[in-house]
Amino acid sequence: MTAPSSTPASTPESTAASTAAGAARSSRVTGVGRLLIAVYGLLALAATGRSFVQIVAKFDEAPLSYSLSALAAVVYIVATVALIKSGGRWRRVAWITIGFEFVGVLVVGTLSLLDPELFPHDSVWSLYGRGYVFIPLVLPLLGMWWLSRTGKARP
């Protein structure tokens, strides 16, 4: 993996920001973290597109499922942005949004199994995200693992 030190210390961003934020930025955004951000971006795009179609074309059929889809899409977008951005506040936003996703996929996934009537139409999180090859279930775990790992690098 690329060492964080490969980023020049004198980039405009790191001199402008505090040293701690600069370190967190370079360690979080380089290497395999890039891949995580890219997959988050792709999922955000997929969730946004799907909920756009659901709300425009057939919102009345399943308001609960489709509202959840829209909420999930917004949360994925915020999580993607938070992973890209640096600084303590965005880091907290990343934790909150990724944690929310994980709780969401567990709760909605379990409810959709126990009581299929509750979610008659698929949302991103129905059946633990089966419609998205379980990426919504796995991605928050990778995200939290990544955040905790890079967190140790902070002074």
């Binding site: 380089t30 890039r34 891949l35 971006g41 792709l42 795009l45 997929a46 179609v53």
Partner: protein
């Protein structure tokens, strides 16, 4: 959609995706081969867009939601552009893997588009 063209597109997107992921994990930086393969995926998407616009006039209409079809198609068109843009800015092995993720993402989206076009009314 035209059936043979769709299978061709699925084949190219799948092969390009796997190729880029393998080469990326092997440590290659984005090069002409991997970015070219992703560009080819993009080119076929543009052709697909033209096909989708023209096909209904020849009696080849979508059986499913046209809105959903175009949402997938427009989203898919954005994906390789973003991935290649990333690869040009960030020249690391992970950018090559991201090119592969983009290819596989397009694969899934084209497959969904094919389902929307052909097998509705389940």
């Amino acid at each position: 959609m035209i059936e043979w063209f769709t299978w061709l597109q699925l084949g190219v997107a799948g092969v390009a995706g796997l190729l880029c992921i393998v080469l990326g994990l092997a440590g290659r930086k984005p090069n002409d081969l991997t970015m070219g393969a992703t560009a080819l995926v993009e080119l076929l998407l543009i052709v697909q867009l033209v096909v989708a616009i023209v096909a209904p006039f020849t009696g080849n209409t979508a059986t499913g939601s046209v809105l959903e079809f175009y949402t997938y198609l427009i989203s898919a068109i954005l994906v390789p552009v973003a991935a290649v843009g990333w690869a040009l800015i960030e020249r690391s092995r992970w950018s090559t893997v991201i090119l592969g993720v983009a290819g596989l993402g397009v694969f899934v989206m084209v497959y969904r588009m094919w389902q929307i076009w052909t097998v509705q009314g389940l």
